[in-house]
Amino acid sequence: MEDIVKTFPDTIANDGITIEVRSGEVHCLLGENGAGKTVLMSVLFGLYRPDSGRIIYKGESIQINSPKDAIKNRIGMVHQHFMLVPTLTVTQNVMLGQYAYTKILNNTDKVAERLREMSQQFGLDIDPCALISELSVGEQQRVEILKALYHGADLLILDEPTAVLTPQETTHLLGFLRQLVDNGLTIIFITHKLEEVMQVSDRVTVLRDGKVVATVDTVDTDPRELARFMVGRDVLMELTREATQPGPVVLSVKGLCVNDERGLPAVKGVSFDVREKEIVGIAGVSGNGQTELALALAGLTECTFDELALGGRPVMNVSPRKLFETGLVHIPEDRHKMGVVLPFTIAENIILEDYHCQPNSHHGFLNKRYISQHAVMLVEKFDIRASGINEELEHLSGGNQQKVVMARELDRKPRFLLVNQPTRGIDIGATEYIRQQILLQRDKNCAILLISTDLEEIFMLSDRILVIYEGQIIGEVPADRKLIEQVGLWMAGQRSTV
């Protein structure tokens, strides 16, 4: 791809990018969120038209105007959010778009048979007749790969494929990719995880702010250098975390059960304590009850329990505001849905929880002067990069939005901090900052429950680790990196100890 430029109304996503991918290699595209990796690959796959630049593929300059063109040119893409119709079977999904609109489908069995063969040949273990909605996330990903292979892909693009996988699934996937390359495929692997780059790739191209920073052979580089390319400065790879002596129990949970929004049990009787000066990490693959657990602890959904006490006092299904007053602070998993109001300004978002009390308002009128001063102070303290306190949240990057949430919540001086996925979808720089803030809270005697699907993050921050699987805590270990294998096995549902 030569000199690709793609602009959107507000931003330049790709600013003259030239990359070269050699046949038969795994080429990693590394960069922070918003660096332009996905946009670049969407141009290659025909989802976006570039403003300028050209694509040279197998020695010829080609035009790709739609995904159909891409598939015809034997380019396949596995999107970060799977492009599978959940109500259709694997076979039906593979057959999408391949036939004239008027055709009667009489070869379904043949396609299914071929898929079964291919699935066996590559060891993918997929039943072509299964409904997509019945498959696990890992299986769905394998269906996506199978789909691309069925359509004869020579070049396979994978967009952040490991974000949704357990460590074992990740290892399996990376091994499988090497196997595909040995069979003559070329793979472009989009990621922001450095370990994966080191494990799987032959060469790496690092993007930052829509430009190519460097292209290097993987053997000639190391994670530290790549991180520097990505962020533009040195990054602390490891946070310094001193061991502390946990204090008295702050949150005590016994036999907590929560139903999900469909009314099915999602959390099935979990019990644990969180102490002062302690970070308890809850590890698990997404969708194993973490969301419901966090909602229940924050008082946002109904639940049943044998005991639920905060600071020694029982809390019974009380309102979120009451919980705030007992010192609970919640940093929600989905900041757009629950953390912030996007069209509101920074200042307005900061008073969302306290607008009704002194000194933010007086007799029902807002005290604008105090609110502004306070917001300016927090913006400075938490290093929020914005044009001012009156900038709307929707114009900030994900990292800065999350910092606004952190600023508002941590300013409450919590006794118990509930953090769910604090750094999901956030670039390395802001991630590092946010993690430091969480550690800082611990040192201020706060009890912290950290829920995260990012195992690195769990091990980096926690003092103790609990593993949640299908709504139950199935294991507990101290945060010792030697135990990462064990945690991974638990996350995949294996109860036995190694």
Binding site: S66, P67, M77, V85, P86, L88, L96, G97, Y101, K103
Partner: protein
């Protein structure tokens, strides 16, 4: 009451059931295509009226049922294309556009009907409708003969329409694409399916069948056009689609349910004399259908992208 009388009442109710279900079957089957592709058209009532009037006007001037039906089909195609233009291309809110179609359909058909037919001779107002066709031998079967084999062509056509719709949805590439577009348009798009085209076609199929359902009312059921002749059937059809879980066979079952209640109230009107005001009896099929539909609502089968415009 002797047994023979009961049997004859049951027979006449059941014979009317299919006839009363027919306009709903047409309209609901059409809406299934529309909704399966992710577009919701609540303007069915208006489109039924447009179809009823255009079929009626052309038949009354040309004395040709074929030309009448053709013009109803044409009016449906035009309505469908217009609806798609606003909702798929311009991406306007589908509910608002549907409400507009209902109002325009009611107002426009009333206006045109009065302009063309007020002050004229009354014999011009009545049409020769689709005749009942007695199927030889079968129509002589006791009891069932009259119920199943003495209907008009548009009623018989539903026997073809329902399995055909089910076949298209489950066994053709087009049906597969329609379902994909309604569930996950982006996945369809990345597979090379033209989401816009599929939605245009599905919406137009829906509007065309709704216009046919309307034309049935003025050309096969009654023998003339009356203002507001659809009497809420467009809305009942929407409920029928939900109850039938977006499947043609399910929609047919739900339509027949409405048909039974409708036929029952007709019979009750005839039998009750003036004891019960007829307005109360007329409410019965709508009320009964709605109660059944609400208590058995089709859960979970709704297309995921229903009502959401697709932005690439």
């Amino acid at each position: 009451m002797d047994i023979l009388l009961l049997v004859s009442i049951a027979q006449s109710i059941l014979a009317a059931t299919w006839r009363m279900a027919t306009p709903l079957i047409y309209t609901a089957i059409g809406e299934i295509f529309t909704e399966r592709s992710g577009v919701i058209n609540i303007g069915l009532e208006g489109i039924m009226l447009i179809g009823a009037l255009s079929g009626y006007v052309v038949t009354s001037y040309t004395d040709s049922l074929f030309l009448g039906i053709s013009s109803a089909v044409l009016s449906g195609i035009i309505s469908g294309l217009l609806f798609s233009l606003f909702t798929v291309t311009i991406k306007a809110n589908q509910i608002v556009v549907g409400a507009a179609f209902n109002m325009i359909g009611t107002g426009l058909t009333g206006f045109i009907y009065r302009t063309l037919y007020s002050g004229g001779s009354t014999d011009k107002l009545v049409l020769d409708t689709f005749p009942s066709i007695k199927i030889p031998l079968l129509s002589d079967i006791p009891f069932f003969g009259e119920i199943l084999f003495q209907q008009n062509l548009m009623v018989y056509a539903t026997v073809v329409l329902v399995p055909l719709a089910a076949f298209i949805l489950s066994k053709t590439a087009f049906g597969l694409y329609v379902k994909a577009v309604g569930e996950h348009p982006k996945a369809a798009d990345t597979s090379g399916i033209n989401v816009t085209l599929i939605r245009y076609i599905s919406t137009t199929i829906g509007a065309t069948l709704a216009a046919l359902g309307g034309a049935y009312l003025s050309m096969a059921h009654a023998n003339q056009f009356v203002e507001g002749i659809a009497t809420g059937r467009g809305f009942i059809a929407l409920a029928v689609v939900v109850f039938g879980r977006w499947s043609p066979w399910g929609a047919m079952g739900a339509s027949l349910l409405f048909g039974v209640f409708y036929a029952l109230q007709l019979r009750l009107q005839a039998m009750s004399g003036n004891v019960i005001p007829y307005q109360f009896l007329q409410v019965l099929p709508y009320l009964a259908t709605l109660i059944v539909l609400v208590s058995l609502k089709g859960r979970g089968a709704e297309p995921k992208a229903l009502g959401k415009p697709y932005k690439a």
